[in-house]
Symmetry: C2
């Protein structure tokens, strides 16, 4: 079974595959940062705020590999590298916007739920 090559051509469930890429700590934040335009590596570090260079590097590589972003190297001195969304990346902003709107709309309810949960579980 595992030595059957055809298994590597079987694509996994699209939902699961995409959620796997999206469902990590940094990808969405990086895409959100790039939604406003092209940024350089250190601009992204500052823009996201609390991401380490290493994790940014990894996240960018994954997003590039999956076609969400494009990396352009300008061989100047000092080196300049720019990251921008591809068409796939841009098209992803649409469903992500739905997520963000939902977040803004329902954040208060979530905070409230947390407080009630804490209250309900404090007196045991």
């Amino acid at each position: 079974m595992t030595d059957n090559q055809s298994i590597s051509f079987e694509q996994p469930c699209p939902i699961r595959d995409v959620l796997d890429r999206i469902g990590d700590k940094w990808s969405l934040l990086v895409l959100h940062s790039l939604s406003e335009g092209t940024l350089r590596f250190n601009e992204l570090v500052r823009n996201v705020g609390d991401i380490s260079k290493q994790m940014l590097s990894k996240t960018l590589k994954r997003l590039e590999k999956d076609g969400f972003i494009k990396r352009t190297l300008f061989p100047e001195v000092p080196l300049r590298v720019e990251y921008e969304l591809t068409d796939i990346g841009k098209s992803f902003l649409e469903p992500m916007a739905g997520l963000i709107i939902w977040a803004n709309t329902n954040h208060q309810d979530i905070v409230l739920a947390r407080q009630q949960y804490q209250l309900a579980n404090s007196n045991r």
Copy 2:
């Protein structure tokens, strides 16, 4: 600064706060499983497929705490525990559906991008 209580009342950026909860490996998959209706603990284990009991337990607790799901214990023998979406959880299905539709629509392009990336980076 850290001993100033008021800091705990300052809510973080809603986007970041919500994405933090959503942006993990299992939450979306669990919510997706529950979108079809109430499920018991072990039904969820089997439904999600490759989640460990421990991570399911943790994920469910977080989702419950944030008000996405409701846990109901039936003190039978053997014990029965049911998980279902709350109103908040149900309302979240809407933006998530956008994500899923996008995933289905663009999955092929992502797979293609991966192949091209691999091709472009194999001959160096």
